[in-house]
Point group: C2
Chain length 416, copies 2
C-alpha cells in the first residue's frame, strides 16, 4: 500500500476530550474514527489489525474443532422470553429493544445464547449429534451508559462468540478447559499477558466462569492478584482480601486495575431446560444439553494492545497483529534515481509476500516521515534515501539502533 493513497493520513492533534492513550494514538495514527460516543469506524489500518486478530482467533478455535458461521443481529422478543432475559432489568438496561412499524418487538444482540439454543433445538435429536461447537465474529450492541476509554468500551463493537453443547457436565468441562488453553495461545500470540480470573457470570449464569484480564491502569475492573504466583480472582467472588496471603502459595495479595479481554462460561443445563431443548441418550431417554459460551472482545483488543504497546512517540505493534510488517520510508524522492530505487525495493518486498506500507510522498521532510512511522508503529522501518545508496537503513520500532543491510539480508531477517 502506498501511503500517498492510504485513507486517511495521520493527524497532529489528538481529538478534544480523548483521555485514554489508545483513543489518542489510534485516532491520530488513522486506525479508527469516532461516529458517536462508543461507536467507531475501523479505518483501513484498523481494519487490517482486526483482520489479523480474527485470523489468530480463527486458527486456534478451528484447532478445537469449532466451526465458523454467522448469526443475525436483530432478535425477536419471543425467543429471549423463553429464558426470561428479555425482561431482566439488568438486560433491559443494556439491550436496545424496540418495535418495528408492524409492532413486532425486536432486540439488538449483545450475546447469542438464546439464538444458539433455538438453533440447536431444530437440529439436535440424539447424543450422536453432540458435541457441537460453533462460533461467529459479529457486531454486538450495548446501550452503554459509560461509553468512554476509546475503543475499550463501546456501544457497538466486534466480538467473537463461541458456543458449545454437550451430552454431559464432564464433556462440557473438558471442552471449557480446551477453550481456556486456546484463549491463552491466542493472547500469547499477540504478546498479551493475561490473568485467568474466577468470576461472576452476571446476566449469563450462576455457574462457573473465568475472565481473561490484562492488567492495566486504565482498566475498569479491579482484580486481586498474587505478587508471587499467577493466582488471580475477581473482587465480586473473592474469598481473600488485599494484603492477605495467597491461598495457593502464601504470597501477598494486591488489588490491581485490569481490562477484561475474554470471558468463558459454563452455563450448565439452564438454557436447555428453559427453552425445552433436549437430546435422546443411548436408551432413548430425554436429557438436557450441557451448554457453554466463550467470548473475546475483538475491537476492545485493539485498544488493549495500544495501551500495552506504545511509547511517547506512538504505537509499537507486536508483529503478529501489525497492519504491515515493513514501513518503507522514501527520502529525497524528488531525485529520480532514489525514487526508482525505492520503487524497486517496494516491488521486491511485495513480490516476496511482505506486507509493506510505502511512504512515497514527495516534499515531506525526513523528520515528519519518521514521526509518522513511529506513530503508526509498524515493526520494521526501512529507509531508502540518497545516502543509503544500494543498501537499506533498517530500524525496528522497538529498538534504537539502525543497521545498513541489502534487500536480501532484510528478507532473511523478516523470514525469522
Amino acid at each position: 500500500m502506498r501511503y500517498s493513497q492510504l485513507f486517511p493520513k495521520t493527524i497532529k492533534q489528538a481529538p478534544a476530550g480523548a483521555e485514554s492513550v489508545n483513543h489518542q494514538l489510534l485516532v491520530r495514527a488513522g486506525f479508527i474514527d469516532q461516529l458517536m460516543a462508543g461507536s467507531w469506524t475501523l479505518l483501513p489500518l484498523g481494519f487490517r489489525v482486526i483482520s489479523k486478530i480474527n485470523d489468530i482467533i480463527r486458527g486456534e478455535l478451528n484447532s478445537t474443532e469449532a466451526q465458523e458461521m454467522l448469526m443475525p443481529l436483530l432478535h425477536p422478543r419471543d425467543i429471549w422470553d423463553q429464558t426470561g432475559r428479555w425482561s431482566d432489568p439488568d438486560v433491559k438496561e443494556i439491550m436496545y429493544q424496540f418495535k418495528d412499524i408492524r409492532g413486532k418487538e425486536l432486540g439488538l444482540s449483545f450475546t447469542h445464547e438464546e439464538i444458539v439454543m433455538n438453533l440447536l433445538g431444530k437440529y439436535v435429536r440424539s447424543y450422536k449429534d453432540l458435541p457441537i461447537k460453533i462460533y461467529h465474529f459479529s457486531t454486538k450492541f450495548r446501550n452503554e451508559p459509560r461509553a468512554k476509554s476509546g475503543i475499550l468500551r463501546g456501544r457497538e463493537f466486534l466480538m467473537k462468540d463461541l458456543y458449545s453443547a454437550h451430552v454431559s457436565k464432564e464433556d462440557l468441562q473438558q471442552y471449557f478447559q480446551q477453550v481456556r488453553e486456546a484463549y491463552l495461545k491466542i493472547f500469547n500470540r499477540m504478546k498479551l499477558e493475561t490473568r485467568v480470573v474466577d468470576a461472576s457470570g452476571g446476566v449469563f449464569t450462576e455457574g462457573f466462569t473465568q475472565e481473561f484480564q490484562v492488567i492495566s491502569p486504565v482498566g475498569e475492573d479491579s482484580i486481586l492478584v498474587c505478587e508471587s504466583c499467577d493466582f488471580a480472582t475477581n473482587i465480586e467472588v473473592s474469598q481473600v482480601k488485599e494484603g492477605e496471603k495467597c491461598p495457593r502459595c502464601g504470597g501477598k495479595i494486591k488489588m490491581v486495575k485490569a481490562i477484561e479481554v475474554g470471558h468463558i462460561f459454563t452455563l450448565g443445563t439452564k438454557y436447555s431446560k428453559n427453552m425445552g431443548v433436549f437430546f435422546l441418550d443411548e436408551h432413548g431417554k430425554k436429557q438436557d444439553l450441557w451448554f457453554g459460551s466463550y467470548g473475546i472482545g475483538v475491537s476492545r483488543l485493539v485498544g488493549v494492545l495500544v495501551e500495552k504497546f506504545h511509547d511517547e512517540k506512538g504505537i509499537v505493534w507486536p508483529e503478529a497483529v501489525a497492519p504491515f510488517k515493513v514501513h518503507l520510508v522514501g527520502l529525497d524522492l524528488d531525485n529520480k534515481e532514489v525514487m526508482e530505487r525505492a520503487e524497486k525495493v517496494y516491488k521486491q518486498l511485495q513480490a516476496e509476500g511482505v506486507e509493506v506500507l510505502f511512504d512515497d510522498k514527495e516534499g515531506v521532510s525526513a523528520g515528519e516521515k519518521f514521526a509518522d512511522a513511529d506513530l503508526i508503529g509498524i515493526p520494521y522501518r526501512v529507509v531508502v534515501s540518497k545516502r543509503t545508496e544500494e543498501q537499506l537503513e533498517v530500524k525496528k520500532r522497538n529498538e534504537k539502533t539502525t543497521a545498513f543491510v541489502t534487500v536480501e539480508e532484510l528478507l532473511k531477517q523478516l523470514s525469522h
Copy 2:
C-alpha cells in the same frame, strides 16, 4: 472437515412454506437456517460460500485501489438529517428507526452514504487527498414488508458497499466504469451471467445508475432485454417497450424477470453540497466532491447462485464459490482396511491444500451418501469403497460419467 462433525446435517424435507428453490435447497442441504421472516443464520457450509464470494469481491475491488474498512451499523439521526433522508417517507418505510433509553434517535443502516460523507468531511482538505475509494462488507437492515423468496430478499442481510469521492465529474465517471468492469469480472468468476441495465436511483439519486441483473423467473424486477444483443433497460426508465425494436441493433425487445445482484450509482455533488463537505482546488478555491456508491448483495448472491445452478437432486456449485472442492464419500467403512484407505486419501488431499468434506459416517447406505453429496453440490465426488481398491471413483457434480483414477491423477485434475 468430517461430515460426522459438520453442523448441521442435511434434512429430508423442505421446510413448510418454502416456495423458492433456493430456500428449499439451502435449508435442506444445511447452508442456512431461518431465525425469523427475512432473517437467516449462515450455517458453517453457507458461511464458507459467503467467504469465497467475499474473497472474490475483495480481490477485484482491491485491484481498483479501493481500501477495505468497517463502519458502524447504528447511525445517529442528526447525520441523516443533513440530507433530509431520515424523514423521507420512502426511507422511513424501510429503515428501522428508534430511540434509545436516553431518548437519542438512532437508525439501523440500510446504506452508508451519509456516514461516509461525514467521515470524508473530517479528513478531506485538498484535491491532493482525492480520489478516495473505500468499502466494507457489513450487515444491512431493511424493515421489508415482502421478506420472502428465501435468502433473496431479507430484513437483515450482507452487502458489500463501496464509496468513492473525486475532484471532478470526469474522474468519477472514469472510476464508475472501472467498478463496472470489476463487477463484471466478479460475477463472471462465479459463473453468473448478468445484464447491465440503466436504472432509476430510487432513494439514492436522480443521477445515472446501473443495475447488474441476473435473468431468473423468481426475480422480482422486470427488465427489457434485446433477444439479439446485450442491450437491457429497467422498465422504470425505458424508452422502448416490449415487442419494439432494440435501439442498438434492431433486434426484438422482450420483458423478462430478473434479480438485482449489484447496483452502481453516480451521486454527483448532492451529498457533498447537502452535508457541507468540500475540498480546496489548486487555486485554494472550495469545490464540491463528486461522489459515487456501488453495492453488491452478498447474501442474496448465495440464493441467486442456487437458483441458477441446481438440478432435481440438489445444488451444483460453481467451483469458485463451492464450500469444498471435494466431497470424499467413504463406503463400507465398517471394513477396517477401507476406512484406513479413506482416512489416508482424506489426509493426502488436505496435505495438498484441497478443501475436502469427508463423509466418514459408518452404517449409512451408498444411496443415502450419494443423495447427500448431490444435495450439497460440491464439484467433485470422490468415492473410496471395497470395490475401488487402490483407486478412487471420481464423478463431477455436473457430469454423469464416473472414472477410476489414482490420488495423483485426481490431484492433477484438481489443479487445472
